[in-house]
Each structure stands twice: as C-alpha cells, then as structure tokens.
Amino acid sequence: MIHLHYFAGIKEVAGKAEEDIDWVDGTAADVLKWAKKSYPSFDFSSVQIAINEEYVLETEPVKPGDHVAFIPPVSGG
C-alpha cells in the first residue's frame, strides 16, 4: 500500500486530500499513470511528484509505505 496526497485543483477533482492504494512495485511514473486513469478530468501535464516530501524524477522507485504527493505548479508568496 502507498499513501497518496492531493492538493489544490487535484484535490477538488479527486474529492479528497488523501487516499491509500494497493502497491507492490513500480516507479513515480506508474503512480502518475494510475492517477491520470483514475482522475481523467485533471490535467497532470505540469504536475511534479514528491516521494516522502522530496521532489523526484518519474524514474524514482515507489515502495510500499511511501507517501506520494502530486504537486501542481506552486503559487505561494
């Protein structure tokens, strides 16, 4: 299982801030693929992935227990 975190527009489309999904093995790209399929109305093209609170490349492995966050373009300040 992995823990997913949604923010801003993705959170609104998903209708939730967090969810757990079953997970055995894969990369950040695989998680992104899952999200695109699960929430097709959201445009993930500018979204970055963070694993356990660090930005990662899409090739990064995702292990059971990881926290995976979808980070749309930030707009703080």
Binding site: S46, V47, Q48, Y55, P72, P73, S75, G76, G77
Partner: protein
C-alpha cells in the same frame, strides 16, 4: 511576545506578525535587516479578488522553507533567516508571507531576501486560489515547467 517561541520556518493558519521575525533575526553581528511582507492584492490582471485561499503540503513546505534558509546562510555568510507563510482564507491586504533576513551589510540582506521569495514561488508546495465575484481558480505559476529546473 517571546522571540524564543518562534519557529523560523513555518506554515501557519494564524495571522503573521512581522515584527516578531525581525526581532528573531536581529543580532549584534547584523548591520542590516530586510523585512519583506507579501500581501493580498485586490486587482490582478483587471480581475477583482474578493479573497484568497492558501493551501500547503505542510510538512514538505516547512522543510523546503528551512532548506531555503540553509541555502541563504551558505550563499550569504553570517546571515540569519526566518520565513513564514500563512494558509487558509486571507482577506485583501492580509499578510501571506513574511521573510526576515539579517546580515552584516545591507546588500546581502536585500539579495538574500529576494532570493527567498523567488525560491518560494518555485519550489515550496503552497498554492493559492483566487476567489472573484464571479468565480474562482487555483493559480499555478506556468513559468516554471516540471523537470526544467534543478531543485
């Protein structure tokens, strides 16, 4: 307030008090303190904002703010930094972000302070939603494309 209770890198729902952070970074070795406050603007590109909503990935945002602080202390030696961002519903003119930087000389204090706000806008997972009279939208800075920047 007791400056000792300050968290120098924080995301908070509470109103920000800039003077506390100025006090926090001020020390005998400092010859300059720059205090930046980012406030909620009413008009953006001809559209009137009624209020803003800020949201953050709080633990990661605080970690990234602290990283910016470490980068500044490395790039501008003997500086001291505090960066705090407010989240939740903010009204026009409310303070959304406070950046306090002290350094031995003013040039470094100005430069480091500007560096901090630019990094916030690039890497810190905080989002704002503009709420207008006739709608609302999450704002994303499209100038920074994923993968195009080194974090």
């Amino acid at each position: 307030m007791d400056a000792g209770l300050i968290k120098p890198f924080e995301v908070t729902k509470k109103p920000l008090e800039p003077a506390r952070y100025m006090e926090y970074v001020t020390h005998p070795g400092a010859g300059a303190v720059t205090l930046f406050a980012g406030t909620v603007r009413e008009w953006t590109n001809g559209k009137r904002t009624m209020h803003l909503e800020y949201e953050a990935y709080e633990p990661m945002a605080e970690k990234k703010l602290a990283e910016i602080g470490s980068e500044i202390e490395e790039k501008w030696p003997n500086s001291r930094v505090a960066i705090v961002h407010r989240i939740g519903a903010l009204a026009i003119s409310d303070i959304a972000v406070v950046i306090a930087v002290s350094s031995p000389h003013r040039k470094a204090a100005y430069e480091a302070n500007e560096y901090a706000i630019e990094q916030i806008k690039r890497v810190v997972p905080i989002w704002k939603k503009e709420i207008w009279e006739d709608g609302e939208e999450w704002i994303g800075d499209q100038a920074y494309k994923p993968g195009g920047e080194q974090y």
